[in-house]
Symmetry: C2
Subunit: 375 residues, 2 copies
């Protein structure tokens, strides 16, 4: 029986996590559910899964019978909890992730920002308190799966990128593309922020940063290869030249379930299977740096370390929201992030307080917590 807390239970990853809990009902006890402002859905989930603890931005009155309101930081560290699914969006995931690791929990982390912002601090906390981060993101999950049973040196990680909707768009047309066009991801259905990050390849740079910290691989040994079908989720090359790949139809259910049941694998009809009954092809091409300037900028920020990746993440969030609102153009996302990074004086080896301070520019007070939750 896995005793689980799901932070961000009403978002896409949170809902798919509950689908897996539903499919393996006798394997889980849902101890806590935390949501943003989708109180209606949270109440439905509470009725079905009977958590003792809940959290949301505007709590219902009265609370559902038998539930107690508990902030996410505390929910993540409850003694009776084994697993914490952090399915939040943006910087708000950092603090509960850190708390869960300090309490020695298994943290299934679908939320990239905590690692981008504070990868080194999270890994130090993991090592010190015996918690463990289990990646839920599809590409790091693929790498993690390929590394099973391999107590061997990694020569190279090859993270695949779909290339987004503008892989073949003439470069001079990029400044005119609309949010509607940028939201048409060729292979994955995801939230708006991450879909735009996939169009700029900012998201792929975040995965490079994530993989650097999660798997302790030097920056120069992490490659990105454009693979429009998104069937191979990532590859690992070992010293003897052998390459392992993890593949399957795009679906977040597999990496979610793998993190929840690791190292066990169970059949689940809701996870799509590779179809080999018809011809299929997998194409690969090198990444064009001039098409995706955000990628190089963001990897450089990751390498720079200190508070720079936090500012990267914050500036990107603000820029993407501005693009989605129609305030700036698609190619301005790069310009905004580059400018903000250029003005930032990075603080080396920041503590959590400094990271949170550097993150301030992300959230104008008026926006509140709402943008951190996908609905």
């Amino acid at each position: 029986m896995r005793r689980i807390v799901i932070l961000g239970s009403t978002g896409s990853i949170g809902r798919q996590t509950l689908d897996i809990v539903r499919a393996f009902r006798h394997e889980f006890e849902v101890v806590g559910l935390a949501a943003g402002n989708n109180t209606a859905l949270l109440l439905e989930q509470v009725a079905e899964f009977n958590p003792r603890y809940i959290w949301c931005t505007t709590p219902p009155a009265p609370l559902p019978e038998g539930t107690t309101l508990l902030p996410m930081d505390e929910m993540a560290a409850l003694p009776e909890v084994d697993q914490v699914m952090v399915a939040l969006m943006g910087a708000v995931g950092l603090s509960p992730t850190m708390n869960a690791l300090r309490a020695g929990k298994q943290v299934a982390l679908s939320n990239k920002e905590p690692i981008v912002m504070a990868g080194q601090r999270l890994k130090e906390t993991e090592a010190k308190h015996g918690g463990v981060i289990l990646p839920v993101d599809s590409e790091p999950s693929a790498i993690w799966q390929c590394l099973q049973g391999e107590d061997n040196h990694i020569r190279r990680l090859m993270i695949t990128a779909s290339g987004g909707p503008f892989r073949r768009t003439p470069l001079e047309e990029l400044e005119k593309v609309t949010p509607e066009q940028a939201l048409q991801h060729p292979t994955w259905r995801m939230g708006d922020k991450i879909t735009i990050d996939s169009a700029t390849l900012m998201n792929k740079a975040f995965e490079v940063i994530e993989s650097h910290w999660l798997f302790s691989v030097p920056w120069e040994d992490i490659a990105v290869v454009v693979h429009p079908q998104s069937t191979i989720h990532s590859m690992v090359e070992f010293d003897d030249g052998s390459v392992k790949a993890q593949l399957g139809p795009p679906s977040m259910r597999l990496p979610i379930q793998y993190a929840l049941f690791y190292p066990q694998r169970f059949a689940n009809d809701e996870i799509p299977r590779l179809d080999i009954t018809a011809p299929w092809s997998l194409d690969f091409e090198p990444l064009q740096p001039e098409r995706y300037p955000c990628f190089g900028l963001a990897v450089a920020a990751g390498k720079a370390g200190g508070t720079t990746p936090t500012v990267l993440s914050a500036a990107d969030e603000v820029a993407v929201q501005a693009f989605l609102r129609g305030s700036i153009g698609f190619t301005d996302i790069y310009r905004v992030v580059e400018q903000v990074l250029g003005e930032h004086h990075s603080q080396p080896s920041p503590d959590l307080g400094s990271i949170v301070e550097a993150d301030r520019l992300r959230s104008p007070a008026a926006v509140g917590d709402r943008e951190y939750f996908s609905v």
Copy 2:
């Protein structure tokens, strides 16, 4: 220090094994080398690697200083030996493989026939005496690599097949193809027998039989998918739908080295690397049963068990030699094998003696041992 015996040291796999020994000279002691009739190359190898024991069909007189002539069956079971590389061709590999397993050795097996002929007996011997078969064949090696660290049920093996040189040849032209055309394998450079077996896909059926026994996977859970580039060497699908693949440029050096150093992986400049600096594609298509009738015939023979797969292997060898000599046409290979199988009264649960007896039709006495060694 690995104390190794190489049976078939002058063939393609034997020579590549010695290349690896040369590249890691301090890791190996070569205890014995056995060859066929290429005495000149064997003597060169003896001068370089100083084995105590040698074997060949026409031994030189006098023997090189410090060497003793020893039959392969005894060489494979020497107490001072840890690893036996069985790089023979055809049925001659069965007896030394069995002897090595009885003596509890690690047997790196590149030779398919022993498993095709006597898979069940070999697995029983392995279990009883603590020896272990390590696959060297590229596709089973890929599966073996994908299974590392996975203590999980296998839902499906997907063995890849290049489809050979006649993947696009109109079916009505197949009966006219020449040995020269059939020997033009699109991706692998191998011996003549195995190259023809790759054109008929007989070889792929042998790998299905091999994989059934090596990995204890039911026949119905083994699929073959045509993949002309031979970059993905095989794939494993687990119960949760996750697929792992092992890939790289076609080269036997990797599976040889993996078997010798398992589970360790070491850098070796002679093993080619996947090139991701230019665009590349991987194509897959279902196998066309009407194009490759030998495939279905051979898998059915494998499933039938008893002495049937031995007769399959023997009949195929005779038919392929007849095709290479120009005595029969390409499509006659199927007709010959089907006819021989049709006339055979299979003996269930045969002992080794019955298997060897069933294998008799393979080698007319006049041919001697020569055909078992590639030169």
